[in-house]
Symmetry: C2
Subunit: 166 residues, 2 copies
Amino acid sequence: MAKEPKTLDDLFHDTLKDIYFAEKKILSTLPKMMKAAQSEDLKAAFEKHHGETTAQIERLEQVFAIIDKKPVGKTCAAIVGITEEGAEIMSEYKGSPALDAGLLAAAQAVEHYEISRYGTLRTWAEELGLEEAVSLLQATLDEEEATDLALSELAKSAINQQAEAA
Amino acid sequence: MAKEPKTLDDLFHDTLKDIYFAEKKILSTLPKMMKAAQSEDLKAAFEKHHGETTAQIERLEQVFAIIDKKPVGKTCAAIVGITEEGAEIMSEYKGSPALDAGLLAAAQAVEHYEISRYGTLRTWAEELGLEEAVSLLQATLDEEEATDLALSELAKSAINQQAEAA
């Protein structure tokens, strides 16, 4: 039996599974980053994002329901690689004054991956006429962009200066 | 002998090695994406970015020279994972009208990784007082952001409509 050619619906579904896996991976990684962070501001930023991530996973489950699919993840090699780099920083920079700067950079790499995925999914949802999904994906995209901006501000402030003063 | 604690200089150097590896990986991946792309516009976008990537690698080599280090890469697990996902798309969506939409999404994930890395390196170069490095890194960051925007425009236009019409 010949395979049906894959369509944009398939691509949307595949990418939804990819980011669902990624969000769950991020949810389990954030407490480790929170524990490792030296500055209280950075700990607080990671804690806030942990709460947001829980809500983002629920939004993804709503999007799965909209396309009448079960919420199931699919291993996302990208987030596995990105979080591996974060784990390396935690181990190699343990006890270093540059640790927080490294954690911030790792977190921003995660944010940018999510921004790219949610931007893509939002555009495809528009093309597919999934209005409700567009709103849900846009809400998360806005949060991710705000988080990235907040991390950039933190990176520019005390944390880097601390690392440099070492 | 106790190890010296790692500093922001070390973090800057480590991250430079990471993005140097990533850029070389991207340089070798772009011709495959160019070949796989169905639309002439997308092929042209990948070809343009291939030329930019060559220049970006040269800028990184200038930054290595500024900090008096040899230009050497270090395996970047993130870009390995991100490009793996792109390769999956090329294989799973081969012959599908949604292929270009998938390639665009893969390319945007790459762009966002680079945007996060160059943003981080630029901020650290400022903190470290490496003025010339700041200019070089900012030039590349501007290019990456322009590429991401151009890919977003392509994604919103004909390509997705093509995929949807299948």
